[in-house]
Symmetry: C2
Subunit: 715 residues, 2 copies
């Protein structure tokens, strides 16, 4: 059992048989609300109020301290003043209470003093292997077990189900619980992590993904404290087909400050988080609305069989709105099949054309059989995998026709393997009877077309990830030739270009033919055997940027030019850098064709080596057009990266130019990522600039390589 394995079983926290409510009092609104929530939810375990000044609280016998409780206790919950908390937690440890929630605030999020108290709290908890949630937590709840250590009354209105929520922020968790009620999600567990002093987001995610009651996990976080554990949980989630939706705050510079002030978490570079999410099949959302739509769809949707969507709406102009927002989200709305057009022609007025989106005015909704016939026709259409529709939504009365159509729809949905979703056209408040229909039938209901289509797109991407993950499960290998490269990597210091390229070559990445000349004669001999034209480059560990020092000469076409160039170079370099020790001059074949790419590695504090690719020149420099993923890469990751580049068309071949060897480039990126995994920590960054990619089938060649002890971003 490792140091922290005790954190992997959170049953005592999330499914406690007995709870000590410390500071219980009829005068305390907080403890009263907690006790009421437990009673309302039908909690069947034992509840022990703790208060030295009371004999009885909430009709239950009250104990002066947890020590006095007659039997074992699974969990405590506490909201007393920060300055009184340590001795109480110490008592919980002595009582061997296995877990607890600290609602109290004023710890690391607040002040230096608070930080010190939190450190002592952590010491007590770790020593006792006590699974502590918080401090500065909003509490935890388990709807299947009638547990609510959350004081908000929202919890009472929720029903048990498959959605688990892990939120760093209690305030925003409350918003998600409101949404859960609005959309009638079934909730498994809800956790407000607070300061994550002992348990962190990864611990909860790890436990909840293994919990059979969890079908979908929704996370709000400002950063991951234990990325390794979190990614293990993500991997298991993918195996178990349990989607994880992540709302990561603190993308902006401003947000970073706000987030740091709140929990002191080190916020990693945002682009790296996006890369990690793509690689691990995590659905990353940008705000609460997107979070809510994604949870709504992922928690209620069937397995998608494809990505083609058909939509029925009750107004002609709305077809335009649907088509516009679908296109923005990258959703395909294919034409209906000929069979469907024929089938619908008989029942549809000649005033309306039969296409996708399909205009079915409200008067048709009033004619049950006709409307059912239309929905069924779209469900049966071989061109479609998903059928979406909007029903008119009267606000001030329960519309019998609409309610009947809703039931028809639910009946059709039960009988098909295709996904059926309902849309609304705008974020207008829902009438109460609509909420009841949604709760009863559990058809995914997507609020507003744009967000609805974005959620559908996220589901499509998730399915694609799962199928790709199956294909590529054994692709993430280790080094190709680790032994051969180990020597170089161990000696990592100021590696020269030539040494860097030898390492690239050891990993199977083609490099320029070249050799080091120690004299002019030597250079002339080497150039002759390489064949003209050649390139000369000074070799000196003291010179990182050779061009600026006059240490590069390209396109040398004959021996006279070579000898002249050799002498000039030594003279110029010595003039520029009198201190630099010159090892010699590299004579290199001259590459005249292909496209110049930039490939690099830099280290992320949380996720390790990050691989970056871009198209050389203005794409990288003027447009910051780069794509990144965390090492190691699968071939699929590498192809995704290349495909993400804004200048991708350039590689596909434009204006009659041949296509570049995209597959060869992807292969080189995978090999480079293995090198990055093997590279010792001292190598902070690697630049292969340029890596030239030739025509399709002709592969790539690295022209230069810089292995640096210092990440340029650290400047």
């Amino acid at each position: 059992m490792s140091e922290t394995d005790w954190k992997s079983d959170l049953a005592s926290l999330l499914d406690p048989r007995s709870i000590a409510l410390i500071g219980a009092s009829e005068n305390s609104a907080w403890s009263r609300a907690l006790a009421e929530n437990l009673r309302e939810l039908g909690y069947s375990g034992k509840l022990y109020p703790i208060n030295p000044k009371r004999q009885e609280v909430f009709g239950l016998p009250c104990y002066p301290s947890v020590i006095d409780i007659p039997g074992p206790v699974d969990a405590f919950v506490i909201a007393i003043s920060r300055d009184l908390i340590l001795p109480v937690v110490q008592e919980c440890a002595r009582k061997e209470i296995r877990s607890g929630v600290i609602i109290s605030a004023g710890f690391a999020e607040a002040s230096e003093e608070g930080k010190a108290i939190q450190r002592r709290l952590v010491a007590i908890a770790v020593e006792a292997k006590m699974r502590v949630c918080g401090p500065n937590s909003f509490g935890v709840a388990n709807l299947h077990r009638g547990v609510s250590l959350i004081s908000s009354s929202e919890v009472r209105y929720l029903r048990p189900g498959g959605v688990s929520l892990v939120f760093q922020s209690g305030g925003l968790l409350n918003a998600a619980l409101l949404a859960a009620w609005d959309r009638s999600w079934g909730i498994n567990c809800a956790v407000s992590c607070g300061n994550e002093a002992v348990l962190n987001v990864a611990d909860y995610a790890d436990y909840l993904i293994r919990d059979e009651n969890t079908r979908v996990l929704g996370i709000l976080t400002e950063g991951f404290r234990d990325p390794e554990k979190f990614l293990r949980a993500a991997k298991r989630a993918a195996e178990l087909r349990k989607p994880i939706i992540v709302l990561k705050l603190g993308r902006s510079e401003k947000g970073k400050h706000a987030a740091e002030a709140h929990t002191g978490t080190l916020v990693g570079a945002d682009a790296v988080y996006s890369a990690v999410c793509k690689q691990h099949g995590l659905t990353r959302v940008a705000d609460l609305d997107e979070f809510i739509e994604a949870v709504e769809l992922f928690s209620k949707a069937k397995t998608l069989r494809g990505r083609r969507v058909g939509v029925i709406v009750p107004s002609g102009a709305e077809c335009g709105l649907v088509a516009d927002t679908a296109e923005d989200a990258g959703i395909e709305l294919p034409e209906l099949s000929g069979a469907t057009v024929e089938r619908l022609s008989s029942s549809k007025s000649d005033y309306l054309s039969i296409r996708n989106p399909l205009n079915a005015p409200e008067r048709y909704v009033r004619r049950g059989e006709v409307f059912k016939h239309w929905i069924q026709a779209l469900v049966d259409d071989d061109n479609l995998d998903v059928v979406g529709l909007r029903l008119p939504l009267p606000r001030r009365r329960e519309d019998e026709d609409v309610i009947a159509r809703f039931s028809d729809l639910a009946e059709i949905a039960r009988r098909t393997e295709k996904l059926i979703v309902l849309f609304s056209r705008a974020s207008i408040s829902l009438p109460e009877y609509w909420r009841k229909l949604l709760a009863e039938h559990q058809i995914p209901f997507l609020l507003e077309y744009r967000r609805g289509f974005r959620a559908l797109r996220a589901l499509i991407d998730y399915e694609r990830f799962l199928s790709r993950a199956r294909e590529a499960s054994d692709e993430r290998g280790g080094a190709l030739d680790r032994e051969k490269s180990a020597g170089w990597l161990a000696a990592a210091g100021k590696l020269t270009e030539r040494q860097g390229k030898e390492i690239l070559a050891a990993y199977g990445i083609p490099v320029t033919r070249e050799a080091l000349a120690r004299s002019e004669e030597d250079a002339a001999g080497l150039a002759k055997s390489l064949g003209y034209p050649v390139v000369l480059k000074v070799e000196s560990t003291g010179i990182a940027h050779k061009t600026e020092a006059g240490g590069v000469k390209i396109d040398i076409r004959d021996e006279a030019a070579l000898r002249r160039g050799y002498r000039e170079m030594l003279r110029d370099v010595q003039a520029h850098r009198p201190q630099a020790v010159i090892a010699g001059v590299l004579v290199q074949e001259m590459i005249r064709h292909g496209k110049e790419m930039i490939v690099g590695m830099s280290r992320d504090a949380q996720f390790g080596p990050v691989i970056v690719v871009g198209i050389g020149g203005i794409f990288v420099e003027a447009l910051r057009d780069v794509a990144m993923r965390v090492a190691p890469l699968t071939k699929g990751d590498a192809l995704d990266m290349i495909g993400e580049l804004k200048g991708y068309r350039l590689l596909e071949g434009m204006r009659g130019e041949p296509a570049s060897d995209i597959d060869g480039l992807a292969e080189a990126l995978c090999r480079f990522s293995r090198l990055a995994m093997d590279a010792p920590d001292e190598i902070r960054a690697i630049d292969v600039n340029p890596l030239v990619v030739f025509e399709k089938g002709r592969g790539v060649v690295a022209l230069d390589c810089l292995m640096a002890r210092k990440d340029p971003r650290e400047d």
Copy 2:
């Protein structure tokens, strides 16, 4: 009075003193609803039910035909079957009813037969100068006058105010009316245009902008039938400071089909619409949610004094959400001033840091004086122009503290010139008491941070447009030298490069020094006087693409090369195009510095000449990185276009390169736009490719110019 000036006064339609309700019957749900709406809204004019089979309807005397009504009638409204409609409308014309609404469907939107009937309907209306709304309309309403010729009961719940709505689609108008109730907008007029057979969006916009009751105009359209009139209305709206929000559907290819099927409108190129909106200060939104937030903010906001926003939220993590979504919308959240920090330090717990966004937990909301003090501090902060806040929103009870803070806020808002807005953190249904508070206090309430900040950004952009419009009001001039160019333009046909450049030069756009050589001797002489190096280009109206035909030779450095090049060129061109008549060879100075731009004009069917600019090479070809505006351009328009380019950094100067002459380029674009305005219709497109822009202060030069009779997009 022009042909259509009768359409400019729509008072009889939107403020009728008397209404004929044709087809009135207690058995008709439609007519019953209409009569009920009029009664509920307190319509004080005369209502005449028309039905040949009844003596009395709705307690009012009923007439067999409009002809039988004893006095004059302002408006009729009709929903009888399409096939019965023409004689009835003919009777309305005979009765000299000035306007009317046709709800009936089945016209141009439906079938060829319907189109024919609509044409006859239009003929009757135009002949009688009868202002007809529809057919296929949902109706019109005027809340100030208690008029509702809309059958939906939503209208009854609305209150009069400054928002006018003009929607092509009745179904989506209903959604906007639901939003109006949800957000308690005051409504002036609501119009469902239907097929726009007689009156179109521009007619309503023109009238409603002049209507003093309109403060904000919201439009949903699939395209403009009378762009000239619409843009005149937009100009007047800017002068009167009445914002126009436009939701234009049919952006996507798919949407285009859907839109065409609905009304038969010719949908113009979407990018041109965006350009027109930018140039005329129209706020273009992409979906109904954005439309609703924009109307909410624009209709309730004060004049902005600046663009710096401060936000107060009740949770720490929410600060991160605010900062992220603000950054995405391009909203600046500056640091609080030192004075504010000091002012707040005294009253704020040391647990919380004082920054923007400001975390003010719910417990402080409970302490009225403290919370008021904080809001006031932000309102008084010189670093801020807008103060936004989110109040906690209990769902199931009316929270006395929150209601009190709402009133405090309204009080503060009344006393300051700064804009105060309320946010919600997600699109969760609103409790009823919240709606009442919003109705009472009319503080802009923005649903969800992302959309809220986007609406704020739109308001900031609108204010910027207004201030720029004032500066640039007299800038849009005519041709610089119209007479000189008139000859060329009149002779427009296959203009040669040289002729095209002469026209550019006439408009003050610098072109390469050059002259036409008719012999080798001639060429040698010209090259000598121009100075080497030179460029040779064949001149022939039969050759549009000279390079492909071997008709261009660049960088000719001496006379020998010139003579050789001249001979080669004639030989090659004759081999490639034996039929082409060669007028001679253009000898041109060789431009070796500067950045190559592409400048062009193409004609939009609705808005006329559109000016396009891009950076030559891969930016245009791989990234489709172009910006466009409709001619004529102001200098501000031209600078905006250049600034929109993704590759803009390249022009600002990168990697130590000098900045380009952006001002000179903008000036050239303005001059080019005047040329485009003057160009006869036969010239469908003009390409200046490349236009070279030199270093700052050095101007531009056109290297080539193609004036085409055919737009390449027409192929």
